[in-house]
Structures are given as structure tokens and as C-alpha cells.
């Protein structure tokens, strides 16, 4: 047999959920094997079983033909299995090197030989072209770099089989291209990769074979060369998914949001927005394209009042909202789907029903004279759960227990339901499966058609092209281009985003 890994008939239960039911997946040496499935289908669970974080109730794992019991990650490491998790496993206050050597530190006289460690890490990074700074602190480096640190971690431990759980969800297009290169060089070194992703294009481009699971059960394993995106998506979701939104052309109305010469500093007093200008009209979707870290989050947080603006003005329908408290801003007609759903979007320890009331709990009918009306809150929650197809055992379930996709749907339900004049959607589909993405895109377009202004921030060029009526490119704290999607190309956009081409925008 030339399978490096075989997971046979794996079953894994959680209280009340069968996450994996009789799933089989076999990984050939030197291949990139995609694992595909809806949100909550059980992909991460299956890989966590392989990595020794969970023990399966049933089934068998073989590594290079030999039956093994992976009782904890140590065992997996010893077997040459490494995993890059969906949520990074990095200790933020530590440096890159400290994170990488953690658990198998080089020593000299009982002390960590940090010099040697840094040299080793740097050498390894150079070997695979990872361009990682061994001494940087995790909290100071970009998400893409963090991911490469995760990969380095596994390489440092001599990984032969690398599991990547949704590595591209958080990456910019450039970073995705770099990651693909890295994966190729890993394969060239004789390693094997299991790749979890929701991006079918990536599978088509990079993978050799693909295993599809649905609702915890294995569906099929296919050769990527012999299949199509459509086949994969319908296998996964159980129905046809349309990838192009069938939207009608926009008919923009009056200006809803007007941002002029906005200057915002970050916590280290560095200018993150340097006099940014922007306009969004009713009935249009403005997509902000740009590489992460060029001021997108500052822009969103400044508009929503989460951080302070230094200079410039922000007007919503002719009312100035600059530096108002967040509540005043939301009340003046802005809704916001935040980029970081765990940090901002949800109170994970509240029931999902109360999370759905997070923006309106203090208003009638949800409360009266500061007394909450739980009946109304939960009636509304049930309504939203039904309308937005949020998969949860009940409205009383803690938000923490929901799968990422369903958490995201809950936030969208809450924000869209408030019928805002302006809806800010920051990375609204990050980590979602194709079915959920389709749903959310349609929702955004639907809102647009109701005459709302929508500001969409996304790192996904596909999403930007597909959904936006107008594209603004952000670079280094400024809008450097204002384009129509049908009048530009990915290449041109890429150049603009990289700052190598500048176009004057905004009339003034």
C-alpha cells in the first residue's frame, strides 16, 4: 500500500451530535488531498481525531500501513503528523521562535539555546521560502505570516503529513498564491498534505484528490482531474449551487455615507488612515478591495465609532457621526457585520436568542423601562433563526456551541434585520461554505435592492467582483482607485492593491 494515512470507518460523537459517522479517508504519499464539506460537516473533527486531540468512538487509523492509536498530539508528532488549525495555535506574547520550539526546545546547560533556535528557524524558513522573521512577536505579525509560522512549527517537528484546516480563509489573494507555492515545495520534499477548504477553485488548482463529507458522513473520494466545481458543490451541499449571483444592475440613489479626509491612528500612534475619502449611495454595494492591513479595519471601526478619528469628517445622510458613541451611530442607521465574530460579533456565553437581541435589547418591545421582555426577545429570535436558517438545537443554546457558519448567520440576521440605511459587512463570508456564501451574497443583494447602502470589505477578489456594484481600492490608508467591476480585471485590481498603480479618486 502506498497510503501514508488511512482513517477507516471513523465515528466521533459529541454530546447530542454525531460529528463523524463512518468516514473513511486515505492519503497517498506525495499528494495534496482536499477534504470538503459544509460548515459543521465534521471536517475539523475528523482531522482533530487524526491529530490525537479527540479519540474516536469507532474506527481505525493506519499510518504507513500500521495500525496506530493516536492518544494525543505528541503521538501524532512522533508519527510525523502535523496540523495547522483553523484557529491558530499560537501564543501571542511569544516570539515566532518561541512558538516554534515550544515543546521541543534546544537546550544548553538546562537553558533554552535561543540563539541556536533562532538560527534553525531562520534556516528552515529560508529552505521553504517562508520569509518569516524568527524574532518577531506573534502579536506584531500579519495573519499570513502567522500561518507560515504554524507551518514552520510542523516542519520543525519533522512533519511528513501536514493537515491544513482552512488555511486560505484568512489569507489575502497574494498570500494564497504564496501558500500554494509553499505547498508545492513541501510536496517536492516528499511530504503529503490534507487540505480543508471551502474554496473549490483552490481545490481544482492545487489538489490531486478530494474527499467530500456531508453531515458527518463520507460521501465520496474523487480525482480532482475528473471532476468539476459544480459536481463537488452539489455533492457537498446536496443541491446545485450557483456561483455567480444573478443580480440586476444597481440603481444608486442619494448619498448615504460620506467620508472625507479621514485620519485615524492606531494604538501605537501610527497613521492608519491618511485622509481617506469615500462615498456610498443608497441602493449600491461598494466593495473595498485591498490587502489586509491597509486600513480596512480602521475604516470600519472609525465609521462605527469603535475607535477615535483624528481628523476629517464622516456623514451619514448629512448628519455628522464622527466620534459619536457606537450606540448613537448604530441608532442613526448603521449596521455592522464585524470582521472578528468572536471578539466583536457575539457574546459566546449568552444564548443565541440573547445574542440576536444584542443591538436592540434596550428598545421596545424587547424591553420597557429597562425591564427586558424575554417573550418578545425569544419570539424575534425564533423568527430570525427560521428566516436565516441558523442551525441550532434551540434559541436557548449558547452561541459558543454553534458552528462558525451558523454563528456568522446569526450576526447577519441580527444586523440585516435592523433595516439599516447603511450596512457595513466586513469579511461576511470568511470561513463559510459555498452554500452559506451563496445565501449571504443573496441577502446583501436583496438588501441593496431594498434601497440600502452597503459597504462590503473583503479580501476575496471573487467576492468583490461578484457582489459589488462599485469597487474602491484601499492602499496605505487611502482609496487609490474607484472602479466598476465590469470595467476592470483581477490583474489590474491586484496591481492597484499592491500600490504599484495609482489613480486619483474623489473629485476634490
Amino acid at each position: 500500500m502506498d497510503y501514508v494515512i488511512e482513517m477507516l470507518n471513523i465515528r466521533k460523537e459529541f454530546p447530542g451530535v454525531v460529528a463523524n459517522d463512518d468516514i473513511t479517508i486515505q492519503l497517498k504519499k506525495g499528494e495534496i488531498h482536499a477534504l470538503l464539506g459544509e460548515n459543521g460537516a465534521g471536517k475539523s473533527t475528523l482531522m482533530n481525531v487524526l491529530f490525537g486531540l479527540y479519540q474516536p468512538e469507532k474506527g481505525e487509523i493506519r499510518v504507513r500501513g500500521e495500525k496506530v492509536h493516536i492518544t494525543d498530539p505528541n503521538v501524532a508528532n512522533d508519527l510525523g503528523i502535523g496540523m495547522v488549525h483553523q484557529h491558530f495555535m499560537l501564543v501571542e506574547p511569544f516570539t515566532v521562535t518561541q512558538n516554534i520550539i515550544l515543546g521541543s526546545e534546544p537546550k544548553k546547560n538546562g537553558k533554552i539555546d535561543i540563539k541556536k533556535a533562532e538560527r534553525d528557524v531562520q534556516a528552515l524558513s529560508d529552505q521553504y521560502g517562508l520569509k518569516v522573521d524568527a524574532r518577531a512577536k506573534i502579536s506584531d505579525i500579519s495573519v499570513g505570516m502567522q500561518q507560515r509560522v504554524e507551518i514552520l512549527k510542523t516542519l520543525y517537528r519533522g512533519t511528513e503529513v501536514l493537515i491544513l484546516d482552512e488555511p486560505t480563509a484568512v489569507l489575502t489573494p497574494q498570500e494564497i498564491i504564496e501558500l500554494m507555492d509553499i505547498m508545492e515545495s513541501l510536496i517536492a520534499e516528499g511530504k503529503s498534505i490534507i487540505l480543508i477548504t471551502h474554496k473549490l477553485k483552490e481545490i481544482m488548482k492545487a489538489c490531486d484528490r478530494c474527499t467530500v463529507i456531508r453531515k458527518g458522513a463520507g460521501v465520496d473520494t474523487l480525482n480532482v482531474a475528473d471532476t468539476t466545481v459544480t459536481e463537488l458543490s452539489s455533492l457537498m451541499v446536496g443541491r446545485e449551487v450557483s456561483f455567480k449571483s444573478n443580480k440586476t444592475p444597481a440603481s444608486p440613489q442619494e448619498t448615504v455615507l460620506k467620508v472625507e479626509n479621514l485620519v485615524v491612528k492606531d494604538s501605537r500612534k501610527v497613521d492608519m488612515l491618511k485622509g481617506l475619502n469615500l462615498e456610498v449611495r443608497a441602493g449600491e454595494i461598494l466593495g473595498i478591495a485591498g490587502v489586509d492591513g491597509n486600513g480596512q479595519s480602521e475604516l470600519v471601526e472609525a465609521i462605527t465609532g469603535l475607535i477615535k478619528s483624528e481628523k476629517g469628517s464622516i456623514h451619514l445622510k448629512n448628519k455628522t457621526i464622527k466620534n459619536l458613541p457606537p450606540r448613537k451611530i448604530t441608532e442613526s442607521g448603521i449596521a455592522h457585520i464585524p470582521q472578528d465574530r468572536h471578539k466583536f460579533g457575539l457574546v459566546l456565553d449568552f444564548p443565541i436568542g440573547e445574542n440576536l437581541a444584542l443591538q436592540n435589547y434596550y428598545q421596545k418591545p424587547y424591553s420597557n423601562k429597562k425591564v427586558l421582555n424575554y417573550k418578545e426577545i425569544y419570539e424575534n429570535a425564533e423568527k430570525l433563526i427560521g428566516e436565516y436558517d441558523i442551525r441550532t438545537p434551540s434559541a436557548y443554546t449558547l452561541a459558543r456551541a454553534l458552528s462558525g457558519g451558523n454563528q456568522q448567520k446569526a450576526i447577519i440576521a441580527r444586523e440585516v434585520d435592523r433595516s439599516p440605511d447603511l450596512l457595513i459587512a466586513a469579511q461576511p463570508t470568511r470561513g463559510l461554505d459555498v452554500g452559506a456564501i451563496e445565501f449571504i451574497h443573496n441577502k446583501l443583494i436583496e438588501e441593496r435592492d431594498k434601497g440600502r447602502a452597503i459597504l462590503l470589505v473583503s479580501f476575496e477578489l471573487d467576492e468583490i467582483f461578484d457582489v459589488s456594484d462599485r469597487i474602491a481600492v484601499i492602499f496605505d490608508g487611502e482609496i487609490v482607485a474607484d472602479l466598476k467591476p465590469e470595467e476592470t480585471t483581477e490583474q489590474e485590481l491586484g496591481l492597484l492593491m499592491a500600490g504599484s498603480k495609482k489613480e486619483k479618486v474623489g473629485g476634490e
Partner: protein, 348 residues
Amino acid sequence: MTSNKMFNILVPLISIFIGLFAGAIIMLVFGYNPIEGYVALWHGAFGDLYFIGETIRQATPYILTGLAVAFAFRAGLFNIGAEGQVFVGWIAAVWIGTTMDAPMYIHLPVAIIVAAVAGALWGFIPGLLKARLGVHEVIVTIMLNYVALYSSNAIVRTVLSNNEDRTENVAPSASLASDWLQELTYFSRMHYGILIALFAAVIMWFIIERTTIGYELKSVGYNKHASKYAGMSVKRNIILAMVISGAFAGLAGSMEGLGTFQHMTTQSGFTNLGFDGIAVALLGANTALGVVLAALLFGALKVGALNMPTESGVPNELVDIIIALIIFSVASSYIIRLLILRFKKEGK
């Protein structure tokens, strides 16, 4: 749902049992008769109406300090300062009680409210420092405990008396004492404060579970960022939580000043009402009802313990050990749940 409810009742009961059982073993090991020991404990706590009255009297401040700690906990804050807030509430209540002259329907409420306000102020300081400067509330409240202890002793001696060890008794118009309750309980010091304590528990329940204020406090306690995003003022809520928490503890002080003692003496050290309040809050799972029940348990154990050496020769420190074991067991409810589940499975 229902099984959760079952656990919520079963776990504390089993914990109490574990504590008492372990206490019995300790008594046996050291040559005491555990049955006599526990009979003495029971007599000391519930032997007759007098002791029941005293148990309730003891539980009264425990309820309030328990609520104080629990309330802060719900907002993600740890108030180790209930101890100091009790002192300032006590002195404030006695201050009003001894110096003001007014009919009861004004005097008593004013004394109680001023005590709550004083406690609230003592909670406001750490709340403000936390909200504005990020100073950890645990250190500030620990420090303020000492400040409260020494200051209230100085106030007793220099302001509320002429260099004496105690203040005057509060005027009858500011007293919570009740002839009726005392006669009913053979002159225990049970006083109307228990009603205030129970009312405070209802208030706490109402604020936390039924109002937007409680919703915000819990939200801030769980996730500051999301709360800010949702338009809540994190700073305001931190301060508010500490203020309300302090007010509950201040009320506990007024129970001592206007109810149990009717005056304040210089204290040779901490009363432990605040520290015990931490245990009461946690035993009561930081819920209002839980706190009331835990306070009653605590009151009974503490008052009953006094009878153990007299009636059975068992040193009353044993009760501290038992309390510790009960707290451990409650804290380890996870393992108890696991055992119950296993037990049930095997039973089937």
C-alpha cells in the same frame, strides 16, 4: 433542561453530604463521636427558636455580602473588598443612627440608604480605577479593606465618641431590632434586616435576570469588545457593577450597625463577613436564590459550630474544615455530575 435542574439541586446536596461525611471521618479519627458532634451542631443552629433566630440573624449579613460578591462576579469583576465595604456601611449607618433626629419612617430608611451609599462609594473607587486606568480591582479592594478597618476605628473613637471604644446605640427610630421577632425567638437578635436582605436578593435577581442593566453587566462580564460594539459603555458598566456590589456590602454593614449590634465598636481585625461572602457567593453559584440558600447554610454552620465544643467537645474549627470541603465539592461539580451520570447509567 429538566436534567439540568436536577443537577442544580443534586450537586449542592451531594456536596453538603460529602462535607459532612468527611467531617464525620475526621471526628472519628480524632476520637470524637461524630453523631454527638452533629447533634450538637444541629442543636446549636436549630435547637429551638432562639437558635433559629440567631441563625437567621447571622445569615442576614451573609446574604448581603454574598450578593455583593456575586453581583460583581456576574459582571466579570472580583470584589474581595466586601469586607471593607461592610465597615464603611456599618459606620455610616451608625453615624446616621446616632446623630440624626427624625421619625422612624425617615430615620431608618435614611440610615440604611446612607450605608448603601457609603458601601457604593467604597466600590466606586476600585470601579473607577479599573474603568479609567485598568488598575486591577483585586489589589485595590484588598488595600481598601485595610483603609476601611483603620479609618472606621478612628471614626468610632474620634468622631462618633469621645475617645471611647464604641459609639452610642442608634436611636430607636433607626433600629432594625424588633421586639416582636425577639420575643418570638426567646430574645434572639433576629431583626427586620432579614427582610431587607431577602428584598436585596430579589433586587439582584431582578436586575441581573430581568433588566437591560443586568443584560449589559453580564455582557460586559463575558465580552468587553462585543459589548462595546453593541453600544454599551464598558467603563460605565464596570463602575456600575462595583457600585451596586459595594452597596450590597454596605447594606450588610447596616445590618450589623442597626440590627445586630445597634452600635459600632472599634474592631480588632476583620469581621470576615466580606471574606465569607466570597464563599457564600460561589457556593450559591452567583445567583440570588443560591446566595440566600448558601447564606442560610453558612449561618447555620457558623452559629451551630459554637455549640460543638460545649455539647460534644469537638473543636469548632471542624466546621471550617467542613465548610471548606463543601466548597471544594461544589466547585468540583463537574466530577460530581460525571459520577451521577455514571451511576444512573449503571443503575439502568
